[in-house]
């Protein structure tokens, strides 16, 4: 195939312990480390592997968000993507609008494959890939742990609740990457320098002319209910007593 399009989302880093703002209006992100959503890194790694074995000629990374998302796109370019597109918006946008914006990029670029992460670790929505595939009227293969091509179709292994499901999809298609699809490479310093020269196109979201989805409003962010403090026991015998007291064994 010619092009692979990969989505990269800027999210609060995996290792940050996220806290609710004191007034409950949102999540504290000021001064917090931001990174590429880990599943999106896996998506990009897969695209790079496909290109490196000669099954694609160009990998394009796309992000939707504020100007700061350029940092994550530069990291994606340093990993090996050929060019980047930032759909720029200062506002947080709903998932359907996000899928509509990605569809616009697809219409411009005509990729043979789109790979996204299976979920973003901030909102944990698990929606964008499926919505995009629906709007594009193309196949979706979510939670993918293995992918191989056979002409104009892909054979895909999906991690589902009961085991591994194998499906076959015609290309182009939307793939969403699960944890065990691959292990993303580390970025090397010379690649970071090289990435600065790679093209990064900025397109204001408003220029795409998409219709915003019916917005679901978010209010009242709160910490989850805490579990009550438990007891420590000294040995297996005391553990058995405690379990019997609760009627569990």
């Amino acid at each position: 195939m010619d092009k692979i399009l990969v989505g990269l989302k800027r999210v609060v880093d995996y290792n940050v312990r996220v806290r609710v703002k004191n007034d409950g209006s949102g999540v504290e992100t000021a001064g917090v480390k931001m990174s590429i959503n880990p599943f999106d890194e896996i998506a990009l790694e897969e695209a790079l592997l496909i290109k490196e074995r000669g099954d694609a000629s160009e990998v394009i990374v796309v992000s939707i968000g504020a100007t700061e998302s350029q940092q994550q796109l530069r990291t994606g370019l340093a990993m090996g993507a050929d060019r980047a597109i930032l759909i720029e918006t200062a506002e947080s946008i709903d998932t359907l609008s996000c899928a509509r914006a990605l569809l616009e990029v697809i219409n411009r670029e005509d990729p043979g494959l789109v790979i996204l992460g299976k979920q973003a670790i901030d909102n944990d929505n698990i929606q964008t890939g499926q919505m995009l595939a629906a709007l594009w009227n193309r196949p979706q293969a979510t939670f993918v742990s293995h992918l191989e091509f056979d002409g104009d179709q892909a054979r895909v292994t999906r991690e589902i609740d009961v085991g591994m499901e194998i499906i076959e999809v015609d290309l182009p298609a939307v793939i969403t990457a699960d944890l065990r699809l691959n292990e993303p490479r580390y970025v090397k310093l010379p690649d970071i320098m090289k990435a600065k020269k790679k093209p990064l196109e900025e397109i204001p979201l408003a220029d795409l002319g998409i219709e915003a989805g019916p917005k679901i409003s978010q209010s009242s962010f709160e910490p989850p209910a805490e579990r009550e403090k438990g007891v420590m026991v000294d040995d297996v015998q005391s553990l058995m007593v405690a379990l019997k007291d609760k009627g569990l064994v």
């Binding site: 944990d124 499926q130 978010q218």
Partner: protein
């Protein structure tokens, strides 16, 4: 009034318990009238089971050879075809529902509420974000259908004993041919299902090998328990992927969860915080798992687990 359509999850023969949990969530909406849709090649058996669920008004069967296996691209347009007249379309937040429902939402031109953990009002719900570190209240617009997945660990399954009407529905929509089911590779196991087991024994990286996981299986067999694992244990290849519990694996709510050699990363804890009782066995007394454990025991799992297995008798 809320008219709620629930998409049944099943394997062609048996209704998945996730469906009864989604019904429990839907029944928490005032004045809810609940229908269940069963898409299958042959729906009678699953529909009969769905019709017994409390609070269900009707079971709709949509039979088609193409519905033999649950493919989102095939099911979504059929769901859209019957969704008119419903104020809500719900599915479970299992891999089945997570795959399917956003495709339905996009075809209906709406956003989706993922992982409902509690119902505040007919269009207002609470859900976890950031691996359960934050609970947010979501309000969906009232003038479009609410498409949502239900966090099954937050709800008990509704009971049986009902005899809802079963109606066959004919749908005339073009189904895509671009997505084909090939096969399911499932580990053959007569062990209880992780998502419905009353007791779950889980191991982490400290088990250190696939062979050592036998300790976990032996204890689980003694307790009639399901087996779970952390991402680290799955990534290391000690256990198959479907055992993974946490943010990116399964969210479970057993009565008893025994965490063995699990440190308790937040991404894992979000998968177990609805467990009735959490027992933690870990050699590191500072491990975060002890902050959520109801009963904690500090020590070497390689001594403690065989001793515990022995103490449970035969």
């Amino acid at each position: 009034m809320s008219k709620i359509l629930i998409i049944a999850e099943h394997d062609g023969a048996v209704l998945n318990q996730s469906t009864a949990k989604v019904v429990a969530c839907a029944a928490g909406i005032d004045g809810a009238e609940i229908d269940i849709a069963v898409f299958a090649a042959s729906a009678a058996q699953v529909a009969a089971e769905a019709a017994t669920l409390e609070s269900v008004a009707r079971v709709l069967t949509i039979e088609n050879e193409a519905n033999q296996h649950a493919l989102a691209a095939t099911l979504a347009p059929q769901i859209v075809a019957i969704a008119a007249g419903y104020s809500h379309v719900f599915g479970p937040s299992t891999t089945f529902g997570k795959d399917l429902m956003p495709r339905v939402a996009a075809l209906l031109g709406v956003n989706q509420v993922s992982d409902i953990m509690s119902v505040v009002g007919s269009h207002t719900f609470k859900r976890p974000i950031y691996a359960g570190s934050v609970v947010v209240t979501m309000e969906a617009p009232a003038d479009v259908p609410v498409v949502a997945t239900v966090r099954t660990a937050s709800y008990p399954a509704v009971g049986g004993g009902n005899a809802a009407a079963i109606e066959n529905v004919d749908i005339n929509v073009d189904l895509p041919q671009h997505t084909r089911y090939i096969e399911l590779q499932a580990g053959s196991s007569d062990r209880p299902d992780l998502q419905t087991a009353g007791t779950v024994v889980a191991g982490g990286r400290a088990l250190a090998s696939a062979e050592n996981f036998e300790l976990i299986y032996t204890l689980a067999n003694k307790l009639g328990a399901g087996v779970g694992a952390t991402r680290a244990a799955v990534d290391a290849g000690y256990v198959p992927n479907e055992t993974q519990v946490g943010q990116t694996g399964k969210i479970i709510a057993p009565e008893l969860y025994i965490a063995i050699g699990i440190s308790g990363a937040i991404q894992h804890l979000t998968g177990i915080k609805d467990a009735g009782t959490i027992v933690a066995i870990n050699k590191d007394e500072e491990a975060p798992i002890f902050e959520v454990a109801d009963i904690g025991l500090v020590g070497d799992l390689f001594n403690i687990v065989p001793e515990l297995t022995e103490a449970l008798g035969s």
